[in-house]
Every structure is written in structure tokens, then in C-alpha cells.
């Protein structure tokens, strides 16, 4: 029982990262039909924004030295600004292109951002201590002690998701965004302000990336120019498993992939355990072949892949 709870919390907190990243990717796919390969770079950029620009091996906190509230606001602001800049410079000029062109475009964008980070900060990983007191354990029940951080990650993820659901279901702009995601041209003919809706979606996607940046740095304590990439790759898997273009699917997919990873990690024999990622990526191909609409949603398929 205690062991099951431990595994569950591990799975949920890992799944939280994937779900947040998948939401960011899924939102842009829904509205722009864009598979954003630059999302990982957004995440990395948000993490590096914590420290002062320098190629030194020692990291000096910049924004990261501020109290929590201004820190979060600034980091979110930086990533949102980067996302909006990407929208103006890259996504908007490419808006009418084929999905494949958009994919290559975002791939290029991610490549540019990642290499700019190396250019400014150097290529070596750096250690960063941010809110390290959060790693202290909390005893949930007899024999189950988890880092406070894991609970915070799960809590933040669930709150952000609820906020997003509220925004999409109940607010004027949220409804416009869903309408635009489903039928862009029709929405415009009804007077939905297309450019604004897209900017809003891009900004929210940036916000979600910033959340991942912060939580991930607090958890790992390391900055690495590649750090966003695995996060993004697993988020892709989550969106495919959940059904491309479905936000509920993206979240469910994120948690499913997180749980699956932890379960494989826990229960696979040790000589196969190393190949965990191979299995996870194979799942993508199998899902694409068997159920291209995703595993969870049988009806309301929004986007044919």
C-alpha cells in the first residue's frame, strides 16, 4: 500500500511535467496546426533566464535571486515574450504553409534558440540552487515520505489545468480560441479576432513552458542547454497518445506517459530497464497506427492526424 502510494506520487509528479508541456504543445497545435519543436527551447530559455548571462562555469543567480512572486512573474514574462517574438518572426509569416513546413520552421527556431543559449551561457551544465528547501520530505503516512516539491508540482499542475479549463470554457476569449482551433476561417467570418486569439494561445503556451522551466530547475538543480528537449519529446508522445489537438487528451496522455515511465522503471527487470525509452517511443508508433485519434477520446475527434 505504502509502496503503491509512493509509485503513484512519483508517476503523478513526473506526469505533471509531461502534461504541462503537452498542454503547451497541444494548444498551439489546436489553434495553429503547428507541432512546435521549439517548445523545448522555450523551456530551456526560461530556466536559463534565472541566472545572469555569462559563460562562466559558476552560475550567478539574477532573476533567480528575487523573492518568489516577482521571480515567477519575470520568468513567465521572459518566456511569454520569447514565444510572442517567435509568433511574429516565424509562426505568423508561415501561417498558411503546410504542417510539414511549419514543423521544419519550428525545428529551425528551436535550433536557433538553443544555440543562442550556448552562445551566451556556454555549453557546460551549471548547478543552480533554487528554493532547495522544497526538497525536504513530507511524511504522508507511515513509511511514505515524499519531497514537498513533488506535491507542489502536482498541485501547481492541477491548478494551472483547472485555470485553463475555466478560461477555455467560461470566458469569451477562451470560447473564441476553441472556435478558432476548430475552424479558423469560420471563426474569422463571425468576427473572431484571429491574430489576437493566436497571440493569446502562443502566450499561454509560453506561460506553461515557463511553469515547466521553474519546476524542473527546482527539482533537478541543473541548467543544461538540452534540458527542454527530453521534456518536449515526452510531451509529443503525450499529445499523440492523448489524440492530437485534444487538450484533455494531452493532459491525460501526459499523466499516462509519466505513470508508464515510472511503472516500467519500477517493475522492469534491471537489464531491460535501460531500454525504457525505447518502449515508450515504440508506443507512439503503435498508437499512430492503431488509434491515430488517440487512446482516450472515442468521439469528438477534433483534428485528423
Amino acid at each position: 500500500m505504502a509502496f503503491a502510494l509512493q509509485v503513484l506520487i512519483d508517476g503523478l509528479s513526473l506526469g505533471s511535467f509531461y502534461a504541462l508541456a503537452a498542454l503547451g504543445i497541444g494548444l498551439l497545435f489546436g489553434v495553429l496546426k503547428l507541432i512546435n519543436f521549439a517548445h523545448g527551447a522555450f523551456i530551456t530559455f526560461g530556466a536559463y533566464a534565472l541566472i545572469l548571462p555569462s559563460a562562466a562555469t559558476e552560475a550567478t543567480l539574477g532573476i533567480g535571486a528575487l523573492p518568489a512572486i516577482p521571480l515567477v512573474i519575470l520568468i513567465v514574462g521572459v518566456v511569454v515574450a520569447l514565444a510572442l517574438l517567435s509568433e511574429f518572426a516565424v509562426f505568423r509569416p508561415l501561417r498558411d504553409s503546410s504542417p510539414a513546413t511549419l514543423m521544419v520552421g519550428s525545428f529551425a527556431l528551436g535550433f536557433v534558440i538553443q544555440n543562442l543559449i550556448i552562445m551566451i551561457y556556454g555549453g557546460r551544465p551549471k548547478a543552480v540552487g533554487l528554493w532547495s528547501d522544497l526538497s525536504a520530505g513530507v511524511t504522508l503516512m507511515e513509511g511514505v515520505s515524499v519531497p514537498k516539491l513533488q506535491l507542489i508540482i502536482i498541485g501547481v499542475t492541477i491548478s494551472l489545468m483547472l485555470a485553463l479549463v475555466f478560461f477555455l470554457k467560461k470566458t469569451r476569449w477562451g470560447i473564441h480560441m476553441r472556435a478558432a482551433a476548430e475552424d479558423f476561417r469560420m471563426a474569422r467570418m463571425l468576427g473572431v479576432k484571429a491574430d489576437l486569439v493566436i497571440m493569446l494561445a502562443v502566450a499561454i503556451s509560453g506561460m506553461l513552458a515557463a511553469a515547466v522551466s521553474l519546476l524542473y530547475v527546482v527539482q533537478t538543480g541543473i541548467l543544461d542547454f538540452r534540458m527542454g528537449v527530453p521534456m518536449m519529446l515526452f510531451a509529443f508522445i503525450a499529445t499523440v497518445v492523448g489524440g492530437m489537438g485534444s487538450l484533455v487528451g494531452a493532459v491525460a496522455g501526459g499523466f499516462a506517459v509519466g505513470m508508464l515511465s515510472i511503472l516500467l522503471q519500477t517493475f522492469l527487470p534491471s537489464d531491460i530497464r535501460a531500454y525504457r525509452d525505447v518502449f515508450v517511443f515504440l508506443v507512439v508508433i503503435v498508437v499512430l497506427l492503431m488509434r491515430p485519434q488517440g487512446l482516450f477520446l472515442s468521439s469528438a475527434v477534433r483534428e485528423r492526424v
Binding site: I35, A89, V90, P93, L94, S97, P99, A100, T101, M103, V104, G105, F107, A108, L109, F111, V112, N115, L116, I118, M119, V229, L233, F236, I237, V240, M244, A274, Y275, D277, V278, F281, L282, V284, I285, L288, L289, P292, V305
Partner: protein
């Protein structure tokens, strides 16, 4: 010369093949004439990438499907070749899991590279049976997942691939001339494939899958053929790459190389063989210039760009091409016989595509 003599007609027909081969050969001859060893190494690398980009063209250009997975074939070919050619002594240390026969023997690089190519195409055949059923975005994601599967697998398969570290001691046999020969072979394969009924059928399915199917083209099979042929060339390129570097690391065959080769194809124009060749030459040249500037030069005033300027520059070039000239440098057209307007049905259809 008679304007319509059989000789001239043949010349016209094979003109893209001839001019592209001549172009690549001329570049190699000129650069080799200077004899700078550093430039010569960059040239070899560019020629190996040319093989990959031409292979990408065979699949992407003819099928219209984007593939992010071809670098996996390069990796499969590279390791398959290295397992044969590495000196027996180092094999036992770095790849102790190899079968007894491979551990005890070492082969010449030419047959080994060919076998590497075959290995890649066998994997392509099996994987393609599944992947080629996908279309559009799903196909792109599928090939991407394919790359990730093999990358993750090779990274962990340490008794064969040395995992996170490297296989070392590969004979460094890939010279610019070897690169040239393989590039010319790749260009010829792509040229003749595109002219074959397979290439035609696949391009027809790219333009209109339903119509092509209605006229009896099995799109899946046609895609699979292109996939296997391009995987074979990528496998060869992988073998060459190992014998160019002298060592193999799984990380070599990952996203950056995927990115560079796709960038080369798109910058040149992804629907034409000329685009693949011109794009590779252009991007290689641009990278080389940026690398020189990164090291620092003095042109009147000292110029020194920060590290990784080449990558940033390449990314920006690709974005500019995507935004302002989507059809690439060649506008997706082949380089045609320039002196007299050619009016034949095949050239007209090709110009439009």
C-alpha cells in the same frame, strides 16, 4: 550539331545528371587543388552529407512526406560497418557483445560499407511496412519516433555500440575522392529512380494520392520502395562517416545532424535533385565561412564571431528560406538544358511539380 540528333536528345535528357555530377566533381577538384587539409576534411564531411541529403530527397522529394528519421539509417549503417572493419583487438574491448565471427575477423571497408547499407535498408523495409501506412503529420511524427527508438536503443546497447562512450579505432579510409565517388553514385541513383516508373508513380501520389490510387498505384508500396532505397544510401553514408571520423558515438546521429541535413534539402528546394545538391553545397559553404569567422579572421579589421554562430546562422538561413522562398534556391526545379527551350511532355510536368 543537329538540334534533334539522337546524341543531343540523350544529352538533354541526362543533362541534370551530367551537370550536377560535373558541378560536384569540379568543386572537389578545385578544393583539392589547394590542398589545405582542414578544408579538405570539411569537404569530405560535406560529400558524406550530400549522400544523406540526396537520400532524403529520394524519399521526401518524391513522396511529399517529411521524414525526421533518416539519420537513424545513417547510424544503423555506420555501426553495422564499424562492426566489420574495426581491428580485432579494439573490438573485444569496446564491443565485447559482438558475435564470435565478427570478434575474430576484420573486413575491408568497401564490402563492409555495402553491407551497412543493406542493413539499413532491411530495417527500413521492416519499419516501413508500418510507417508507410501513415500520412501527413502522423508520418512525420512516426519517423521522428522511429529516430528516437533507435537512438535510445543504441545509446543503451553498450555491449555492441559502447553506449554513452565511443567505438574507436576505425580505419580512416574516407577521403574526399571516396566521398566524391559515393556522391556521384547517390546522385545517379536518385536521378534514375526519379525517372523510373516507381519514381513517377510516387510523385503522382504526392500530387494527388486518391487519383494515383485510382489509377492503380499502390501508394504504400511505392513509398516503401523509396524509403528502402533512401535508407540504403543513408546506410552507406553512415559507413563512410565512421571511417571519416575514425570513431563512432551514438550522439552524432541525433537531432543536430537531422536538422542540418533537412535544412540542406529545404534550402536547396526539396522537390528537386538539383535542390538537394545545390542546397548541400550552399549550406556547407555557408557553415564553413561562419566557422572561419568563429575562429577569427582579419579582413582589414579583426572579425571574430562567438562560438555556435554557424548553427545560429544556419537556423536563420533556413527560416529565411522558409518564409521568403519556400521552394528553395532552385525553386524546386531541375537544372535543364539551357540553350534551347525543351518542349516535351515529361519536362513540362516536371517543371510544374
Amino acid at each position: 550539331m543537329e538540334p534533334n540528333s539522337p546524341f543531343q536528345r540523350t544529352l538533354r535528357e541526362f543533362w541534370p545528371l551530367l551537370i550536377l555530377s560535373a558541378l560536384v566533381t569540379a568543386v572537389v577538384v578545385i578544393i583539392q587543388a589547394f590542398g589545405d587539409p582542414i578544408v579538405s576534411r570539411s569537404l569530405t564531411e560535406a560529400l558524406i552529407r550530400l549522400v544523406v541529403v540526396v537520400a532524403l530527397f529520394i524519399f521526401i522529394g518524391n513522396s511529399g512526406l517529411m521524414s525526421f528519421g533518416h539519420i537513424a539509417f545513417m547510424m544503423i549503417g555506420a555501426y553495422a560497418t564499424a562492426w566489420q572493419t574495426m581491428p580485432v583487438m579494439t573490438k573485444g574491448i569496446f564491443a565485447p557483445g559482438l558475435p564470435e565471427y565478427l570478434l575474430q575477423n576484420s573486413h575491408h571497408w568497401i564490402p563492409a560499407t555495402l553491407i551497412g547499407g543493406v542493413a539499413a535498408s532491411v530495417v527500413a523495409l521492416v519499419a516501413g511496412l508500418a510507417l508507410m501506412r501513415l500520412s501527413g503529420i502522423a508520418a512525420s511524427i512516426g519517423t521522428f519516433a522511429f529516430l528516437m527508438v533507435f537512438y535510445s536503443f543504441y545509446l543503451q546497447w553498450s555491449t555492441w555500440t559502447a553506449g554513452q562512450s565511443s567505438l574507436v579505432g576505425l580505419p580512416m579510409t574516407t577521403t574526399p575522392w571516396v566521398g566524391l565517388v559515393f556522391s556521384l553514385v547517390a546522385i545517379a541513383v536518385a536521378f534514375f529512380y526519379a525517372r523510373s516508373r516507381f519514381g513517377l508513380a510516387l510523385r503522382a501520389s504526392r500530387e494527388d494520392a486518391v487519383a494515383a490510387q485510382a489509377s492503380g498505384v499502390n501508394v504504400q508500396v511505392q513509398r516503401l520502395i523509396a524509403f528502402v532505397v533512401s535508407a540504403f544510401l543513408c546506410g552507406l553514408a553512415g559507413g563512410l562517416y565512421g571511417h571519416f571520423l575514425g570513431l563512432l558515438t551514438v550522439d552524432t546521429f541525433y537531432l543536430p545532424l537531422t536538422f542540418i541535413t533537412i535544412a540542406m534539402l529545404v534550402v536547396g528546394g526539396m522537390n528537386s535533385l538539383s535542390g538537394a545538391v545545390v542546397g548541400t553545397l550552399f549550406v556547407s559553404f555557408a557553415i564553413e565561412i561562419l566557422r572561419v569567422l568563429e575562429r577569427g579572421v582579419t579582413v582589414g579589421v579583426p572579425v571574430k564571431l562567438p562560438a555556435n554562430s554557424a548553427e545560429v546562422g544556419l537556423g536563420i538561413i533556413l527560416l529565411l528560406v522558409l518564409i521568403f522562398r519556400r521552394t528553395g534556391i532552385t525553386r524546386n526545379q531541375e537544372i535543364y538544358w539551357p540553350w534551347k527551350p525543351v518542349v516535351s511532355v515529361s519536362s513540362v510536368t516536371r517543371r510544374q511539380s
